[in-house]
Amino acid sequence: MSVTGLEFAGQETAAGEAALDADAAKIQGRSQWQLTWRRLRQDKVAMAALAVIAIMILLAIFAPAFVTITHHPPNIAYPNTGEDAAGNPVAPGTNGFWLGTDGTGRDLFIRILYGARISLFVGFVTTAIGAVAGVAVGLMAGYFGGVVDTVLARFTDAVLAFPYVVLALALAVVLGPSLTVIMGVIAFFSWAAIARIVRGQTLSIKEKEYIEAARSLGAGPFRIMFLDILPNLLAPVLVLATLYIPTAVVFEATLSYLGLGIQPPTASWGNIMADAQNFYQTSWWYVVFPAMALLITTLAFNLFGDGIRDAMDPRTERVFAAGRARRRGRRGKRQVLADDSQSGPSHVAPYIPPAGGS
């Protein structure tokens, strides 16, 4: 993705907007990031998703404050107030338990908050590790080519096709399930998708003339890779990383649900839901609230990731423009369709695979 191409496309549309709105007389130079932020701010869905993510992060950080307010530490059971006569969890709002209690009479709200700490921590840290590793592998494979490329690309494909639950199963047996082990497993699977995209982009960028120029000035391979190529890859990597965070959160929850991840009494959304299995008939909140926490978080990250992708893709404006044109009735449906796919050089926006759940 070339910065110049992006800026040009961006300014072009910015100019179009200015002419339409007639509120900006002259065209300012704007960096790619400024343009992206400008577009992102207009995307109401993405901004709402960002707000949800921010609230989630704040709730996770201030979980101990809620313990102070409710006087319910996450691992303390309240057999008298937290369970009814039959020993089942009490409903939301009873005896000061905002979201009810869990199977052993602990405060469900507090446990979900502490689960958020684990989920978000695992999500961000493993994604960061994966992004760094994926960029390194992708750059090396794409830049050096030849045997290095063959070996790294085959390895990447193998990792992408490997059943992660099976590896988690094996490692949980050998090393015993723990936070470190699941973070290792998740990080191990996080880099491959990023490496594949980075490799493809590197292959096309390294043939550009400015790379040739850098090389003829005597720049070494690592200088070229990290100073000349990498800055042009940050946009797709950022999008992929944002879309990987929910996948990592789901990984952690799934492994904990199967008993391969976070071990009780430490709370995780996955192991809360595993415990809830025994209380379907009596306590709907025990299943529904952790499920909603998980769903809202992953949905927010997915929506925000899609928003960033659209904001960074110079083709997006044209798609909207094509939609406007169609509504004005100037063109037929088929031509708009053709424009959707043909506007913008195809190498600008790499195909970014959708974040798959597990």
Binding site: L160, A161, F162, P163, Y164, V165, V166, L169, A170, A172, V173, V174, P246, V250, A253, T254, Y257, L258, G259, L260, G270, M273, A276, Q277, Y280, Q281, W284, V287, V288, A291, L294, L295, T298, L299, N302, L303, D306, G323, R334, L337, A338, D339, D340, S341, Q342, P353, P354, A355, G356, G357, S358
Partner: protein, 321 residues
């Protein structure tokens, strides 16, 4: 003839892959002290003599290369060793657990492909229509839903209320087709939907994107200009070309499918390979887990060969060679 050469080469590489996975699993599992297993088997109050006896019975006192040789030799004879606890042969155990897993995988794949492709094609042919917007929202929710959350919610909002009102066709646990097809489907319908839901979302999005791109190609305009019917243009010219990336994605997703199978089996208590392996972890029953890892590797290899064949059939530019 080219196809036979291709098959032979792919099967040979496939065998090498399975061998590598098996060897990796073997050494991974034996890189830890054998006495833990023996102590667990012998019980808390066991004397060192008893523990040594157990180790000898399991053959864990032999040099690792000798154990490896026995392992590979057994593997070639279709013998995966014996469960540490029941002394049952692992291959017999896995065979018993195979029917729920196979039922789940086949039904799940059929449902997910039908749902994903149909919704994707309809969305792509009517972009920005009400249906398209609705399906986009559904896809996003599907993508954000972990498999076990869908399963748990289905149990909570479908299974539990229906059973409370005496409607017991939909059930959990597993019942084989030999017990009656209707009963089998009643047991499998929720697992199928659960397994298919997330993947259907991925494939809807992929199919829609690919078909939208394809329908913008010049040759589609040519086909329309020739006066071909819209149905013919979309299915004969559009869908066929759009499907190739979808099929190649299928090869990558087979591994993820196995993960989904393990989760779905656990949610609905189906038994099956995945659930048995997860249970084997609690008891450190290594032969069972090694067996599952090998079966999983073989499954991924075979599925990828099939996917490559289908790929070549769909896209005449791809040569099998």
């Amino acid at each position: 003839m080219a196809i036979i050469g291709f098959l032979i080469r792919r099967i040979l590489t496939g065998i090498v892959v399975v061998w590598l996975v098996a060897t990796g699993a073997f050494f991974l599992f034996f890189a830890r002290p054998v006495s833990t297993v023996a102590r667990q088997l012998a019980g808390h109050a066991a004397t060192p003599q008893v523990i040594n006896e157990v180790i000898r019975n399991l053959g864990l006192n032999q040099p690792i290369m000798v154990q490896y040789w026995h392992f590979i030799d057994g593997l070639l004879h279709g013998n995966l060793g014996f469960s540490y606890f029941t002394q049952e042969p692992v291959d017999t155990m896995l065979k018993q657990d195979l029917p729920p897993t196979v039922s789940l995988v086949i039904g799940g794949i059929v449902l997910w492909l039908i749902a994903g492709l149909t919704v994707g094609i309809i969305s792509a042919t009517r972009p920005r229509s009400l249906f398209d917007r609705f399906s986009n929202v559904a896809v996003l929710i599907g993508l954000s839903m972990p498999v076990f959350v869908i399963g748990e919610l289905l149990i909570l909002v479908v299974f539990v209320p229906l059973n409370q009102h005496g409607f017991t066709w939909i059930a959990t646990g597993y019942s084989g087709p030999s017990q009656g097809l209707g009963t089998w489907m009643g047991h499998m319908i929720l697992p199928w939907i659960t397994l298919a839901a997330v993947q259907a979302a991925v494939y809807t999005r992929l199919t829609r994107g690919q078909l939208l791109d394809t329908l913008g190609e010049d040759y589609i305009r040519t086909a329309r200009a020739k006066g071909l019917s819209e149905r013919r243009v979309i299915f004969k010219h559009g869908v066929r070309a759009a499907l190739t990336p979808v099929v190649s994605q299928l090869g990558v997703d087979v591994g993820q499918l196995l993960g989904g199978v393990v989760v779905v089996e656990a949610v609905f208590g189906l038994g099956g390979l995945g659930q048995v392996s997860v249970q084997a972890i609690d008891t450190d029953n290594l032969p069972v887990i090694i067996g599952f890892v090998i079966v999983a590797a073989a499954f991924v290899v075979v599925a990828n060969i099939i996917v490559d064949l289908v790929y070549a059939l769909l896209d005449p530019r791809v040569r099998i060679a």
